[in-house]
């Protein structure tokens, strides 16, 4: 490969055990993601989309396989090292926002900086900047329950991006929003992608998925198609040569 991938998953598998039964949430996944890509992950419920996203975001560890992040094998890191990689390289956005209810919008945005041990002065400066960028200045001292859904997700995005991560991982970011606010949030994410942030969005929304430059389709823990807008559909076979494309 000529230019190094930002993310490279090789034969990643993840199995959950529920009593006697096994769930193969991820089945031998191979995936390369380049810096600055905009990827939509789609597929039926339970197909392993969230598991894949958590794997990329280092919240979960694979049972087998190798995950290289920026050329570094991150499958061997200890929990504290993983936490620091998450802090510096990953930004998470969730369907249910996951804001801390007792903290104001500003304090929620500040949280990653606090955890990273940044000095107060620099923190307030960055938070003020973020509030401005996301149009939340007049909402800075409101608690999440005093904010609209769109505002909450904007706070969540501001929080996810305040440390300028390399990868932005969004799990159904518009799932709890109406179409108009959802579009607004998507435009924000796309703007961040244009600035160079790699964006991976899990979505059930076909229209939203179509906006991405690359669409990955999952079924039963397998990537069944991987379409890059400018390339042909047959690319799917190249990505996962060992796995035949399943017909739905």
């Amino acid at each position: 490969m000529v230019n190094e991938s930002l993310i490279s998953l090789e034969n990643i598998a993840r199995t959950f055990y529920l009593g006697d039964s096994q769930v193969h949430a991820l089945n031998n996944i191979n995936l390369q993601i380049k810096k600055g890509e905009y990827i939509a992950v789609m597929g039926p419920s339970g197909s392993g989309k969230s598991t894949l996203l958590n794997m990329i975001g280092l919240l979960d560890q694979p049972d087998t396989g190798i995950y290289m992040l920026e050329g570094r094998d991150v499958t061997t890191l200890n929990p504290d090292e993983l936490a620091s990689v998450r802090s510096e390289r990953m930004g998470f956005i969730f369907q249910s926002f996951h804001l801390v209810p007792r903290l104001t919008a500003a304090a929620n945005i500040e949280l990653p900086l606090v955890l990273a041990g940044m000095p107060v002065k620099e923190r307030t400066q960055r938070v003020t900047q973020a509030l401005k960028e996301y149009g939340l200045v007049d909402r800075a001292h409101h608690r999440p329950n005093e904010l609209s859904g769109g505002q909450r997700q904007r706070v969540a995005i501001a929080r996810a991006t305040i440390l300028r991560p390399a990868v932005l991982l969004a799990d159904e970011p518009t799932g709890n929003l109406d179409r108009a606010t959802g579009d607004e949030v998507v435009r924000l994410l796309e703007a961040l992608n244009t600035q160079g942030m790699t964006l991976v969005v899990v979505t059930h929304d076909q229209a939203l998925g179509n906006r991405a430059h690359r669409q990955i389709r999952m079924e039963d823990g397998n990537i069944v198609s991987d379409v890059i807008a400018t390339e042909s559909v047959t690319h799917a076979q190249e990505v996962n040569p060992t796995e035949p494309v399943k017909s739905t």
Partner: protein
């Protein structure tokens, strides 16, 4: 994460549930306050007793006739004669001993005083002029027994303030003659009101010279010999010298008991200290209960904040940081409980002092420190488990909780 941020975050988390937090602080503060108040009571009792005893006099060594039974069974006591009496000569011989500053013999009996047609039964004390110094009494009027006028012919009497009031009212009693038993005695002084000697009030005493009292009572024995040592350090030496000297005078038989005020004091001090600590220990149980409450509340808090913990981990919090946050929160709760409790304790002790002004119910410093320390330790001990549980949460499962 910086320490100051950890504290701020934990404090915010605690104040986010004001009712639960204040109940917890209340529980902890009741525990600490009960430790403070109960030890104030115990220590107050100790101080009260010590003060009372100190009022008897300083550096006091007291000789009692008869062997103390606390020194163990001695068959010689059974076959031997009845103990020899203490005499004035015994008392006078002690003056020569080194380390002895003053000696006052003591004869005590009840007798009747008859003056101005009034009759009253009261306590008669026969002693010498040193008694006032040894027992640190004060005169209200006139003077104490004189040194020069001793012997059986002395007609001086010093009366207590209450006797004076009852018999003479506002009249000046100095120089007046009173009848005590079959003697006619002349009042030379009145003791100041409220004095205490030998653990009893001096307000109703009549004090005459030893010889006078002995001849009135037709006896030559003494009730006690009171000795004042020159210094506190010499008390023990004086005690053994006195014992030796009198044993010698009594043909080598150890038939007296010598006690020191210091020893009595120390015994009481010890007993009451143990009592205070026991009481503090009982109060400490309520602190343990409060500690378990802290644990419970923190466990509930971890459960309620599961998704928050997951989020924190997703945005880069290490397990150690999460553990610290919850531990600090538990400690903050305990500490604020301790602070409030100490405040309440001091308030309670103050109220006690208002109600019983003579009772010195001041919380001892060690109790305050112990109450504070126990609260802190129970906060840490009972905070560890919830904090560890929070730190061990799997971020994905935590995040999926709504």
């Amino acid at each position: 994460m910086k320490i100051s941020d950890t504290f701020r975050f934990a404090a915010k988390a605690a104040t986010a549930t004001p009712l639960r937090t204040s109940l917890l602080v209340l529980a902890m503060s009741i525990g600490v306050a009960s430790v403070v108040i109960l030890t104030a009571l115990g220590d107050g009792a100790r101080r009260y007793v010590v003060d009372e005893f100190s009022a008897i006099g300083t550096n006091l060594v007291i000789v009692l006739p008869g062997r103390s039974e606390t020194r163990g069974f001695n068959p010689a006591n059974l076959v031997g004669s009845t103990p020899r009496d203490l005499t004035i000569d015994d008392a006078e011989s002690l003056l020569k001993l080194s380390g002895v500053a003053r000696v006052a013999p003591l004869v005590v009996a009840t007798s009747e005083i008859n003056a101005k047609g009034k009759l009253r039964e009261t306590m008669l004390v026969g002693t010498n002029s040193e008694y006032i110094n040894i027992c640190q009494l004060k005169m209200g009027l006139g003077r104490f027994l004189s040194k020069t006028e001793a012997g059986a012919g002395s007609t001086e009497v010093v009366i207590g303030a209450v006797i004076r009031k009852e018999i003479f009212g506002a009249e000046n009693p100095l120089g007046k003659t009173v009848r005590i038993g079959d003697r006619r005695l002349r009042i030379v002084g009145v003791l100041a009101q409220g004095g205490r000697g030998m653990g009893m009030t001096t307000d109703e005493l009549m004090i005459v010279s030893t010889a006078t009292a002995q001849s009135m009572l037709n006896t030559n024995t003494l009730f006690r010999i009171m000795i004042e040592a020159r210094s506190r350090e010499q008390i023990e030496e004086v005690k053994s010298r006195v014992l030796k000297a009198i044993t010698q005078r009594h043909d080598g038989e150890e038939d007296i008991t010598v006690i020191t005020q210091d020893a009595i004091l120390q015994t009481f001090d010890k007993i009451l200290n143990v009592l205070t600590m026991g009481v503090a220990g009982i109060a400490g149980i309520s602190l343990a209960v409060a500690g378990i409450l802290v644990m419970n509340v923190m466990l509930v808090s971890v459960t309620q904040r599961t998704s928050e913990i997951g989020l924190m981990k997703a945005i880069g919090a290490t397990s150690a940081a999460i553990r610290q946050l919850f531990l600090v929160e538990a400690v903050l709760l305990s500490l604020s409980g301790a602070v409030v409790g100490i405040g309440l304790g001091y308030l309670g002790a103050g109220v006690l002092r208002q109600l019983y002004p003579t009772f010195p119910a001041y919380p001892p410093a060690w109790a305050v420190i112990a109450g504070f320390g126990t609260a802190l330790i129970s906060g840490i001990v009972f905070g560890v488990m919830p904090a560890r549980r929070a730190a061990q949460l799997d971020p994905i499962q935590a995040l999926s909780k709504r």
